[in-house]
């Protein structure tokens, strides 16, 4: 808003900081238990670590809000502006072109504009490992995944997960079946939203009755429904996405592992880099793709399930990680990050 209004209600107490980093969410809002929330956590972490950085967030309720929100961050005098979501990339490009002096970043999108830094993740890699673990751990021979909405940041997880299972079936001669996603046809089960946790719960229940004992919900907050379903069924566990669910949710006991996406770190690093650039360092530009190699994506620790996962499986995961890093295994998804 206006300059004289206090704008510290969201970003810690760095009231007289010299550097203002701003973020615009996509329609999920800042508490989406998914990429908006993780990005915001990265922003806040940056502010916490450096008293001279202040952060603020503006939420969008639809893509028609992107332009005014981005424009408002410019008007507010933000020194670094992060747009979250691939759909916002074009809007970021437009405003970045109009404001060449301000550094921008786009999360989960790729931009070629000079002053826009792209932050992307090849989450198919971490999901691949998760799929492998799931195939190794299932007792019923059936695991299930379902998504919020059929969009690339979601389906990339599902693709990687499917390939990980296929890998296990191939190597170990198992016949683990994946419910809820057909990688070939790119069709599967979606609840058409990220909000309706009750729908997520009943979809998960349905999979459980169909025999699945490991659930992989890729649906932000609606995914909580899978965790509650798992909590009500002793033999069922779940794999979380984006963050380490053992830490970020209350259902640690149900979570076998998580296909992490290191958004928080990446965003924090970007803010730090922008801060340095503003204070005489190199300008922040180009793009970043989180991979297993650079730690931008990872398989979270097993926590409570550590003893349940055999040493053999753990070793195989190690090996697979190495193979992906050195390129012997390429996890491909139609939704993999654009050219970088």
């Amino acid at each position: 808003a206006c300059g004289e209004a206090p704008s510290d209600s969201n970003g810690g107490d760095n009231a007289d900081a010299s550097f203002l980093a701003c973020m615009v969410t996509d329609s999920g809002g800042v508490d989406d238990k998914s990429f908006n929330e993780s990005s915001w956590a990265g922003m806040e972490a940056a502010a916490k670590a450096n008293d001279d950085i202040e952060v603020q967030v503006k939420e969008s309720s639809s893509e028609t809000d992107y332009d005014p929100n981005l424009q408002a961050t410019v008007d507010d005098g933000c020194n670094f502006i992060v747009g979250v979501g691939g759909l916002m990339t074009e809007n970021v490009n437009t405003i970045a072109t109009a404001n060449p002096d301000i550094p921008f970043a786009t999360v989960d999108g790729f931009s070629e504009v000079e002053n826009v830094y792209s932050i992307q993740f090849d989450t198919a890699q971490s999901a691949y490992l998760a799929g492998y673990v799931a195939a190794a751990q299932t007792k019923t021979g059936k695991v299930a995944t379902w998504g919020g909405i059929q969009i690339p940041p979601v389906t990339i997880f599902m693709d990687g997960f499917a390939e990980g299972i296929a890998k296990h079936n191939e190597d170990k001669g198992t016949n683990v079946e994946l419910l809820g996603w057909d990688e070939e046809a790119q069709t599967g089960t979606f609840i058409n939203g990220f909000e309706d946790a009750a729908a997520g719960k009943s979809t998960s229940d349905t999979f459980i009755t169909q025999g699945a004992d490991i659930l992989f919900p890729v649906a932000g907050p609606a995914g909580i429904g899978a965790l509650t379903a798992a909590s009500e069924n002793d033999d069922v566990s779940a794999i979380w996405v984006d963050t380490d669910g053992f830490v970020s949710t209350e259902y640690g006991a149900e979570i076998l592992t998580s296909a992490e996406k290191g958004l928080e770190t990446a965003v924090k690093d970007a803010v730090d880099a922008a801060y340095k650039a503003a204070n005489g360092g190199d300008a922040i530009t180009g793009s970043y793709v989180g991979t297993l190699e650079n730690g931008g994506v990872a398989l979270a620790p097993f926590h409570d399930f550590d003893s349940a996962v055999s040493a053999e499986t753990k070793a195989e995961i190690e090996a697979l990680t190495q193979q992906i890093i050195d390129g012997t295994i390429v996890v491909e998804s139609p939704a993999s990050p654009a050219a970088s």
């Binding site: 299930a144 058409n192 979809t203 349905t206 909580i224 509650t228």
Partner: protein, 425 residues
């Protein structure tokens, strides 16, 4: 000394004389024939439809030949249609229509579950359907109590939200999930009290108030949700256990459906009968129905119309508030913005489908729960020919068909929505 005003009764059309029903007859005949065509042309001959008793008799599975089943069901529907065309006794019309509709729907189900990999897990699906019908049940029952007293309650959605939100909050603050349920009921009560006050004391148009209350509840819960986020542990999920009734739970079909559910199910079913009894068998019910039908008549007999309306509406909030707790506590979920996703409006439709009668409401809610559950099951099993979005439309389409085709003009309580001003005549 009484003089008879009617020495002979007027001619009555004999209900048992066959009458022709061209439109429904044609419709059911065509639908039935369609099923038969599907059975032979679309379904491949070897297909089977598997029905499993997945929770009690885990090793029993019935594999039925799809073609034969669909064809038979199609024939039943077509025959019902044909009977209507040649003429059937009028009093049989409803029954025959119901048979035709059921046969057609079952035929579609048999077809849908013939895809490889799909199994109709009867017990899980029916149990899930009963559970999913609860929000509609609670919402519609609350609506029944309000509208039977002549106050339209469009604000069920808002009362759900308030209940869902407060239920979790209170459970967190007290650490007791049952206190949370009571909290949800009180939140529902307080929000309908506003409706009651505006509708009776200030005579505001009830539809308008309902729309506003929804907006208010949405704004309020979203706003408070953001506020609560700042503090830890005010919006953590709480859950209630599934009650298992010992050996009863092992009865095939009935066991998993009726004797292995959460307390919400039992409260819901009990409420149906309690509300029915109260409405039709007690002094309160007589007065409530009178006030909803002809308030001036009730007033002239010394019933305080607006006071009764006020308290009825206020108390109905207990039911819809409790329905709100279904979204959070029954589903073991924390509160989320706008998490009721429009179900409160659908509950309103269920109330009308149920013709403002608790028993009808139960039937309507079950239809909804069942179609929702089947749609989810088919979507999740992945074998469906129809895109998931269309499966998810199923409950809404079924309601449209039921309302347009079978129910027609449902008759609301005559004074529903009309503010009562004692000075009026």
């Amino acid at each position: 000394m009484a003089v008879d005003t009617m020495t002979s009764s007027p001619a009555v059309v004999d209900e048992s004389v066959p009458t022709r029903f061209i439109k429904p007859g044609t419709a059911f005949s065509v639908l039935g024939l369609l099923l038969i065509v599907i059975a032979f042309a679309v379904v491949s001959t070897g297909d089977t439809t598997t029905i499993a008793f997945d929770r009690t008799l885990t090793d029993v599975e019935w594999a039925l030949p799809t073609t034969a089943c669909v064809a038979v069901l199609g024939a039943i529907a077509a025959a019902a249609g044909a009977w209507m065309l040649v003429g059937l006794p009028k009093r049989r019309l409803k029954l025959v229509s119901a048979v035709a509709v059921t046969a057609f729907v079952l035929g579609l189900l048999f077809w849908a579950y013939s895809q490889p990999g799909t199994v109709f897990r009867a017990e899980s699906i029916l149990a899930g359907a009963l559970f999913l019908s609860l929000p509609y049940l609670f919402g519609a029952l609350s609506g029944v109590v309000c509208e039977r007293s002549g106050v339209i309650n469009i604000g069920i959605e808002g009362q759900f939200l308030m209940g869902a939100f407060t239920g979790v909050l209170v459970a967190n603050v007290t650490g007791n999930v049952y206190a949370g349920m009571v909290g949800a009921m009180i939140a529902g009560l307080l929000s309908t009290m506003l409706l009651a006050l505006l509708a009776t004391k200030y005579q505001v148009n009830q539809v308008v108030v309902g729309v506003i209350l929804n907006l208010l509840a949405l704004g309020f819960t979203s706003f408070m949700y953001d506020q609560l986020k700042k503090a830890e542990g005010l919006n953590s999920a709480f859950s209630v256990p599934t009650l298992s009734w010992g050996p009863l739970a092992d009865i095939p079909v009935l066991g998993p459906v009726l004797f292995q559910q959460k307390i919400f199910v039992y409260i819901g079913l009990a409420l149906v009968f309690v509300v029915w009894f109260l409405l039709y068998r007690t002094r309160w019910g007589l007065r409530t129905r009178a006030v909803g039908e002809h308030p001036a008549a009730a007033d002239s007999m010394g019933v305080n119309v607006n006071r009764l309306r006020f308290w009825n509406v206020t108390l109905a909030g207990l039911i819809s508030g409790f329905g709100g707790a279904w979204f959070t506590i029954a589903n073991s979920l924390a509160f989320g913005k706008n998490m009721t996703a429009g179900l409160g409006f659908v509950a309103l439709a269920v109330m009308i489908v149920g013709r403002w009668n608790p028993l009808g409401v139960l039937a309507g809610a079950l239809i909804f729960g069942f179609t929702t559950q089947v749609a989810r099951d088919l979507d999740a099993s992945g074998g469906s020919v129809v895109p998931g979005e269309f499966l998810q439309m199923l409950p809404y389409v079924v309601t449209l068909v039921v309302v347009a085709g079978l129910i027609g003009k449902a008759k609301a309580p005559a004074a529903d929505g009309v503010p009562y001003n004692p000075g009026d005549k």
